[in-house]
C-alpha cells in the first residue's frame, strides 16, 4: 500500500469510519512503514490534546445579559401585535367589502355583454375557454342587479359606501399598521 493511501486510512480511523477489513490493511502497512506509524501516533496524540484543551471561564452575567435583550425583544413583539388590535375590525371590514365589490366588478366587466342583448352569446362563442367564468360572473351580476332592482342610483350609493370604507381602512393602515410594520422591519 502507498503511504498516501495509508494516511487517508489513518484519517478515516480517527473519524471512526474505518471498516474491519481496511483496519487490517492499515495495520499491515503500519507494521512495515515507520513514517506512517509515527504520523498516526502524532495525530492520535494531537486529537487527544485538542479535546483536553482548557477553556477560560466565561465572564459572569452572561445569561442575564442575553435574557435581558431577549425579554426586551419579546415585549416589543407582543406590544406590536397588541397595538394592531384596534385596527383589526377595520381591516376585516375593508377586506370583506373589497371581496364583495371585486366580485361585483367582475360581474360588471364580464357580465356586461350579457346585459347588452345578443352580445354575450357572441363573446362566449369567441372565448369558449372562459365560458364557465363568464357564466358564473354573469350570475353574480344578475343577482347584484336584481338585488338593486336595476336601480342605478342604488348601485352608485353602494359604490360610494365601498369607497368610504376603503378610505377609512387606508387611513387606519397609515396611522397604525404602517408604523408597526416599519418598526418591525427596523427592529
Amino acid at each position: 500500500m502507498e503511504c498516501n493511501r495509508g494516511r487517508q486510512m489513518i484519517h478515516a480511523e480517527l473519524d471512526g469510519e474505518l471498516t474491519e477489513e481496511r483496519r487490517a490493511l492499515l495495520a499491515e502497512h503500519l507494521g512495515q512503514c515507520a513514517a506512517c506509524a509515527q504520523f498516526r501516533a502524532r495525530l492520535m496524540a494531537l486529537t487527544t490534546d485538542l479535546a483536553a484543551l482548557p477553556l477560560p471561564a466565561q465572564p459572569e452575567g452572561f445569561r442575564d445579559a442575553v435574557m435581558g435583550q431577549v425579554e426586551g425583544l419579546a415585549r416589543k413583539r407582543r406590544g406590536r401585535l397588541w397595538g394592531l388590535r384596534p385596527a383589526l375590525p377595520w381591516v376585516g371590514v375593508g377586506l370583506s367589502s373589497s371581496l364583495i365589490y371585486a366580485a361585483l366588478a367582475t360581474g360588471i366587466v364580464l357580465g356586461l355583454p350579457q346585459w347588452v342583448s345578443g352580445a354575450g352569446e357572441r363573446l362566449a362563442a369567441l372565448l369558449s375557454a372562459g365560458h364557465g367564468l363568464w357564466q358564473s360572473s354573469g350570475a353574480i351580476w344578475s343577482y347584484a342587479s336584481s338585488a338593486a332592482g336595476d336601480n342605478a342610483p342604488l348601485m352608485v350609493c353602494g359604490l360610494a359606501a365601498y369607497l368610504a370604507v376603503l378610505a377609512g381602512a387606508g387611513w387606519k393602515f397609515r396611522r397604525q399598521l404602517l408604523p408597526a410594520m416599519v418598526g418591525a422591519r427596523d427592529a
Binding site: 483536553a52 466565561q58 442575553v66
Partner: protein, 191 residues
C-alpha cells in the same frame, strides 16, 4: 435526544416562551463561547460574540429549519460574527503572555492531565492554542468543531455552510498542518 429536546424548546420559544429560550442558552452557552474563543482568542470579544449570537438566534428563530441541527445553526451564527470581526479588525494572533493570562488554567481540572502527563508542563496547551491561531479560518473552525466541541461532520458542514466532504477536507488538512506546526512537542510520540 439533545436534538429532540432542542427542537421542543425551539418550538416553545417560537410561541413566545422566553423561558424555553433561556433553557437553550443554558444548554449551549459554553459551546458557543468556546467556538468564539477559539476563533478570536480573546475572552471579552468571545463573550460579546456569544451574547450577540444568542440574541440574533432569538430574532431569527422563525428561519431555523426544524430538520437541521440547532447547535450547528447557532454555531454558524457565531462563526459568521467572528469572521466579520476578524475582517474588520484584521486581528493579529494573540501573544503568548495574553494567552497564558486568559486561558484560565486550573491544575485541578482532570482535562489537563492528558497534556501535562505527556509533557510535564502546560506549555503544550499554549503551543496548541498558538498553532490553532495560525491555521486558516476554515480549518481552525473545522478543527474546533470536530475535536474540541465534538460535532459530527453533518453538523460541521451545516455550521460552515459547506458539503460534508469539504468539512472533512478542512479537518484533515487542519490536523496535518497542526501536527507539522507542533512537531517539536510531538517529536517523542511514536518514535
Amino acid at each position: 435526544m439533545t436534538e429532540l429536546a432542542d427542537r421542543a424548546l425551539v418550538a416553545r420559544a417560537r410561541r413566545g416562551d422566553t423561558e424555553a429560550f433561556g433553557a437553550l442558552v443554558d444548554r449551549h452557552r459554553q459551546r458557543v463561547f468556546g467556538v468564539a474563543y477559539r476563533m478570536l482568542g480573546d475572552v471579552e470579544a468571545a463573550n460579546d460574540v456569544a451574547q450577540e449570537a444568542f440574541v440574533r438566534a432569538f430574532e431569527r428563530l422563525e428561519s431555523f429549519r426544524s430538520s437541521g441541527s440547532f447547535v450547528a445553526w447557532l454555531v454558524s451564527i457565531a462563526s459568521n460574527l467572528c469572521i466579520d470581526i476578524q475582517r474588520r479588525s484584521r486581528r493579529t494572533p494573540m501573544s503568548l503572555d495574553v494567552m497564558q493570562e486568559e486561558k484560565g488554567y486550573d491544575p485541578a481540572d482532570p482535562r489537563q492531565a492528558a497534556i501535562e502527563h505527556r509533557l510535564g508542563t502546560d506549555e503544550a496547551a499554549d503551543a496548541i492554542h498558538q498553532a490553532l491561531e495560525k491555521l486558516p479560518a476554515a480549518q481552525r473552525l473545522a478543527i474546533t468543531l470536530r475535536h474540541i466541541e465534538g460535532l459530527g461532520y453533518e453538523e460541521i458542514g451545516q455550521a460552515m455552510g459547506v458539503p460534508v466532504g469539504t468539512a472533512k477536507t478542512h479537518v484533515h488538512r487542519g490536523r496535518e498542518r497542526l501536527a507539522r506546526m507542533l512537531h517539536r512537542f510531538y517529536a517523542e510520540v511514536g518514535s
